[in-house]
């Protein structure tokens, strides 16, 4: 008789099965279809794509945009993260949360805000925005919080004793260069890879600002031609680049520790006479990247007539968005926590790569796969209901909750689990009595992060929402065609409030230092 199967193993495989159903199966379905034409194996879609005159320029545009966005986020986000984590800069908490605002909004909101700004300036500014430069500006302000917050978190977790020892022999510039930054490198590199992947797969901003990229082509192939094979073929180069990004990250972080471990108080840098200039610089940055576009976007939003029309047009969509995002966030929190738990037990490589790959794949591609897989008479209960949307969210964002959970779980001493095991407690009992109670803050953070990501998602919302069940970002996008600008502004404001409420909760739950 074989060994009895452990509950832990069953739960692990159930989690993997959920990720497979939500993400891998749809990707596999369209991948197969892209090699299949008229009942035969064929490379026609790929041949047509590569031989098309527009393919290489579009690929180059996508890479150029992703690289430029990553560079800007690195150049601004990393120093900002260091300043907020290690210095006595005045109002640093306020600056940090303000700079985070664009990330919790759908990216095309920021683009729309900038469109309002340049409309006041004139044609030259408009010409500049509706090109490469405008795309980089918008995507950089949207993704800047990723590098800033991950740098912030990584630096807070550097052991202060090492910095104190280094301070005996060197000034702060040297300590930062030789100790703090190298020890924070895993978090910083991870943030840059994330920005690169997100910028590569971004659809709404290049589409709105009319900058042609591969995700735009892939979406058009799907939405305007419903050509699954061609749409997948257009997305495959993106998937390859995404995998390459993950490989680079894995190679760089080999044998390095990801975990954020609290080491008590952080060692501070006193800015002295640099305080005022740097605070002014940060204020200017907040004004340029956040206040200016959002003020322009929301300028007309407060009129009672516009707010009334917005609520009439999209009130139900607000409720739906909150509901779908809450359900998906709850599933993602549980899934991420369990996957994090298993990854902590040493099964990191495959699970980590799998979830990160799903995060890196553009939402349009994932959605195409979901529609293709589930549009059958037997599976209407998935295809014609919000279940499809929630599956999409689950596949796309489980990497985020998994990594957050893993980081939180690393803070719990393994000795507690070992003590439970030695006293005869089963895996489930140890999970419910030790890991979960000690991870309430981690779980809340994971839930809130997942909720925000689901709420602001555009590609999955547009392509997988059931009839009459469109979430708010999708509804705003469809109403934008000929909708009155004040009403659109009010809708954006409502969306911003729905996104900012959890951010405020997050700000209260996670003190800026701790």
């Amino acid at each position: 008789m074989g060994r009895p199967v452990k509950a832990e193993t069953i739960v692990l495989w159930l989690c993997v099965a959920l990720v497979a159903i939500a993400g891998l199966a749809p990707i596999a379905a369209i991948a197969v279809e892209s090699f299949w034409q008229n009942g035969h194996f064929s490379l026609t879609y790929y041949r047509e794509l590569i031989s098309a005159a527009r393919f290489w320029p579009l690929l180059a545009n996508s890479i150029r945009l992703a690289l430029a966005t990553t560079a800007v986020c690195g150049l601004i986000g990393v120093p900002a993260g260091i300043l907020f984590a290690k210095s006595d800069l005045p109002l640093r908490s306020g600056f940090m949360w303000l700079l985070t605002v664009p990330f919790v909004l759908p990216p095309y909101f920021v683009a729309l805000g900038w469109a309002h700004v340049v409309a006041r300036i004139g044609t030259i500014a408009s010409d500049w925005l509706f090109r490469f430069g405008g795309c980089v500006l918008v995507l950089s302000s949207v993704f800047l919080p990723i590098t800033m917050l991950l740098t912030f978190a990584s630096i807070l977790n550097v052991d202060r004793r090492l910095e104190e020892a280094a301070r005996l022999a060197s000034g702060w510039p040297g300590v930062l260069r030789r100790v703090t930054l190298p020890l924070s490198a895993p978090g910083i590199v991870f943030s840059l890879v994330l920005v690169f992947l997100l910028a590569m797969g971004e659809l709404s901003v290049p589409s709105f600002l009319r900058y042609p990229t591969l995700p735009v082509l892939s979406f058009t192939q799907f939405a305007a031609s419903y050509n699954f094979g061609a749409a997948t073929a257009a997305a495959v180069p993106l998937a390859f680049i995404a995998f390459f990004g993950i490989l680079v990250e894995s190679a760089f972080l080999r044998d390095r520790d990801y975990a954020f471990r609290s080491t008590g108080q952080t060692l501070f840098i006193s800015l002295r006479h640099w305080k005022t200039p740097l605070a002014t610089l940060m204020a200017a940055l907040c004004f340029a990247l956040v206040i200016l576009p959002l003020d322009a976007l929301f300028a007309d939003a407060f009129s009672p007539a516009a707010l009334h029309e917005a609520m009439q047009r999209a009130g139900v969509s607000v409720v739906r968005s909150v509901m779908y995002s809450a359900v998906a966030a709850t599933i993602l929190m549980a899934l991420g926590f369990l996957l994090g738990h298993f990854m902590r037990g040493g099964r990191q490589r495959v699970l980590s790569a799998l979830t990160l790959a799903l995060f890196a794949i553009p939402g349009t591609v994932l959605s195409i796969g979901l529609v293709r897989l589930w549009n059958t008479p037997c599976t209407w209960f998935i295809y014609a209901t919000p279940a499809l949307l929630i599956l999409g969210y689950t596949a796309q964002y489980c990497a985020v909750t998994t990594r957050l959970s893993l980081a939180g779980l690393m803070l719990i001493p393994t000795s507690l689990d070992e003590a439970g095991r030695l006293s005869g407690a089963m895996w489930a009992r140890r999970l419910f009595r030790i890991s979960i109670p000690l991870s309430t803050r981690t779980l809340l953070c994971a839930w809130l992060a997942a909720y925000i990501l689901c709420l602001r998602d555009v590609p999955i919302a547009i392509m997988t929402a059931p009839p009459g069940g469109d979430p708010l970002p999708a509804r705003i996008l469809t109403l934008m065609a000929n909708g009155a600008p004040p009403m659109i502004a009010s809708l954006c404001l409502i969306m911003a409030i729905a996104s900012l409420i959890p951010l405020v909760i997050l700000a209260r739950v996670i003190p800026s230092r701790g």
């Binding site: 005159a53 527009r54 044609t123 589409s207 009319r210 735009v216 979406f219 058009t220 939405a223 305007a224 031609s225 419903y226 699954f228 047009r313 739906r320 509901m323 779908y324 809450a326 359900v327 709850t330 529609v371 549009n375 059958t376 008479p377 209407w380 295809y383 014609a384 209901t385 919000p386 279940a387 929630i390 547009i462 929402a465 059931p466 009839p467 009459g468 069940g469 469109d470 999708a474 509804r475 996008l477 469809t478 109403l479 934008m480 065609a481 000929n482 909708g483 009155a484």
Partner: protein
């Protein structure tokens, strides 16, 4: 205060989502896929809901998919239809559904009085409330075009715009030129227009904005874009082109509604078709911001909307347009540099 049990919260949320999704299976529901702009079509669907107590579940197109996203979704769902009705913003797409066996015939009593030119002869779709392809001219311009031939006039060199002919109603217009003039003359016209430095824009809305801002002198746009800029007080004039006795006429692009074959709620679908084709719906769409032209004669219109009986329309069959559109795709891609 005790915190609510998280398991209960999750169960309530799942139940709420489940109930929300189950409603569509009810017999007092129908599913409609809509290519007409949501801002204009949704109020009509809401009125229908109010008057009939039938819940309407809609899927709307985004601007990015150039009004073909839901049509293609219908084609993909052919073996497992989810929709009862397709409300197209022009008849060519509706005719494509007929060719692919996605729609089915229905003779609506409300269609009586709509000219045959705007109906499928086999009743697979019926037109209502139309847009027209017009010339929008900047009021300060010295060029006063009366025909699309103005695009090739040396006086208009670099001073005219047209939306990308690969998409939307501009494709319809170019296909109509090919159908009426024949391939050679239409190709020559398109190439002459390009040589004359026409600016290609991403949409008719952008073309209208260019005219309103004086960046170009004139552009071919949809009537709703033209009326919209006029209502905004922009310095623009609307010209119905080619209205002389030997002129081409104006391309009229009605909305079209089609019943989907095998849809889950066919009887409710027929009720919506009757409602959309009614004179009262045409009146609402004429007075809405889309300013569409009623196809029933004698329906009230605001001053800026010309009645159908006062317009000389292009004589072209929409099925011919659909065929021509497919034929000229390679030429258009080459023309547009894609």
């Amino acid at each position: 205060m005790n915190m609510p049990n998280p398991i209960h919260v999750v169960l309530i949320l799942l139940l709420a989502v489940g109930l929300n999704s189950c409603r569509s299976a009810s017999s007092k529901a129908l599913v409609v896929y809509v290519s007409e702009d949501q801002i204009f079509s949704e109020p009509i669907l809401k009125d229908f809901e109010r008057e009939t107590a039938i819940t309407v579940k809609s899927v709307f197109d985004t601007e990015e998919s150039k009004s073909t996203g839901v049509m293609n979704r219908l084609i993909a769902e052919k073996d497992n239809p989810q929709a009862d009705i397709y409300w197209a913003n022009e008849p060519v797409r509706a005719d494509a559904l007929k060719q692919r066996g996605v729609s089915t015939a229905y003779v609506s009593p409300s269609a009586e009085g709509i000219p045959d030119q705007f109906k499928d002869p086999d009743h697979y779709w019926t037109g209502f409330s139309a847009r027209a392809r017009l010339l929008l001219v900047n009021a300060r311009s010295t060029i006063k075009p009366a025909s699309v031939m103005a695009y090739t006039d040396p006086l208009a060199k670099g001073r005219a715009a047209i939306a990308n002919p690969l998409f939307g109603t501009t494709t319809d217009y170019v296909a109509a030129l090919f159908a009426i003039w024949g391939d050679d003359r239409a190709r020559t016209f398109m190439n002459d227009m390009k040589r004359n430095g026409v600016k290609t824009t991403t949409s008719n809305g952008e073309s209208a904005d260019f005219v309103a801002a004086g960046q170009v002198d004139f552009s071919l746009v949809d009537s709703d874009d033209a009326v919209n800029r006029k209502k905004q007080g922009k310095p623009v004039e609307i010209v119905y082109p080619d209205q002389d006795a030997n002129g081409l006429g104006v391309l009229i692009l009605p909305n079209a509604v089609a019943l989907i074959k095998g849809g889950p709620h066919p009887e409710n679908g027929k009720q919506l078709i009757d409602y959309l084709l009614s004179r009262s719906t045409e009146r609402k769409l004429a007075f809405a911001d889309c300013a569409q032209i009623p196809l029933h004669s004698g329906v009230d219109t605001p001053p800026e909307v010309r009645r159908i009986e006062d317009i000389k329309p292009m004589r072209v069959g929409y099925a011919d347009l659909a065929r021509k559109m497919e034929e000229i795709q390679p030429f258009l891609k080459e023309w547009a540099g894609q």
